[in-house]
Symmetry: C3
């Protein structure tokens, strides 16, 4: 519970449109989904997979944000707006990350056990960006809107664009 | 009320899949959100910020479209499909604009007071496009699907693509 | 009904995060929308357009996936995650296709009767990709995340990227 208050306070500080912690607690889907995820992740860890995913899906219905119960999420995650966000089962997110709406931390179908990305600390992922595969996004990385990332990114980088070619 | 009827009529004319104004009024989330936004924007202007955002969030839940109560929207806006649209607090939209699903009129974190874009009249924004920052999109501009726009665009242009490079 | 069970079974096989057909039936919005679409498409074919679209819109509200009742969908379609998917009135989808969240099979405003794409068999469309216009996507084509496709694609290709230029 203490951590959830910390999450809400962090959002109130970071979002110029947020006027108070009270606003965040009542109005921010990106905060509400963290409550659902806590519960779902707990149930997932004790192997109650069906009920864990049911809670995750109820959260998705209410917030437009889909976090698989298995995902490991650090402290003070700020999911802004959030509609369309998808975070996969084996994704890991460090502390103080910001994720905008439409972002995917997904798989490519090539990996087996760990199929989804790892975000280190203080990563910002712009709206619509897709981060795919078992890759590592370094500390303090900024990823631009609609960017597609398929490879590891070292610390302190800014990444934009998608490589555009027709492959045989 | 008269304006809302004008909005619905405009959608019925523009959408090849719409068969009548009646259909638009009952079936189009992009029309429903305009009703919510009217109320939310009125409440925002008299500084009832919490209730204004609550109505905006209820509208988001029902339609998948998030318009901040502060956004200024012109006449005959057509938001088609609409899921995932995000329109920021200081965004301004002229008359006769069309916005598809997944479009963001958002901020970059660099601007202070006016943080979101201004769309002049008759602008078309393709699905998934992100328009970010305090920039001006000229009259009759067309923006392609998934395009990312970070700079002013002069009148009568078509813009497509995102610049793809890894910046230090 | 038999086909719907086939659809669910196919999802359970393809998704590494799905543990059983039971899970798919209760937890997968991409399966639920197929039920709505069956009903809506039947009503559309007997020209009950309003009620058909009403059911389509209820499905959109519950799943975040918008399929126009007129769309023709083949067997064993797997819509994964699904939030933000839009499939247009004259779109056609073959058998064994996989579509991720945020994908659009939409129009460009240039075509008249057949306005939306045709996907042949075994096509995979990555998250956020937009396929626009009356074009044909060949058998076994893979389309990368956030890709924009505006032209026919021959069989067995992989397509990624969006062409980025400012057109007068």
């Amino acid at each position: 519970m203490k951590n959830l208050y910390e999450d809400a306070k962090n959002i109130a500080i970071k979002d110029p449109a947020a006027t108070s912690v009270f606003h965040v607690i009542f109005l921010y889907p990106g905060f509400h989904i963290l409550i659902f995820h806590r519960i779902a992740h707990f149930l997932y860890n004790i192997k109650l997979f069906f009920i864990a995913r049911l809670i995750s899906q109820i959260g998705r219905f209410l917030t437009g944000i889909e976090i698989h119960p298995g995902a490991q999420i650090g402290r003070r995650l700020f999911i802004d707006h959030g509609m369309g966000v998808v975070i996969g089962e084996t994704a890991e997110i460090g502390n103080d990350c910001t994720i905008y709406h439409g972002v995917t931390l997904g798989g490519t179908g090539k990996d087996k056990k760990k199929r989804h990305p790892t975000l280190k600390n203080n990563v910002i992922v712009g709206c619509g960006a897709k981060i795919l595969g078992n890759i590592i996004i370094g500390n303090n990385v900024k990823i631009g809107a609609n960017t597609v990332v398929l490879n590891d990114i070292p610390d302190n980088c800014t990444v934009v664009g998608i490589k555009g070619t027709i492959l045989k």
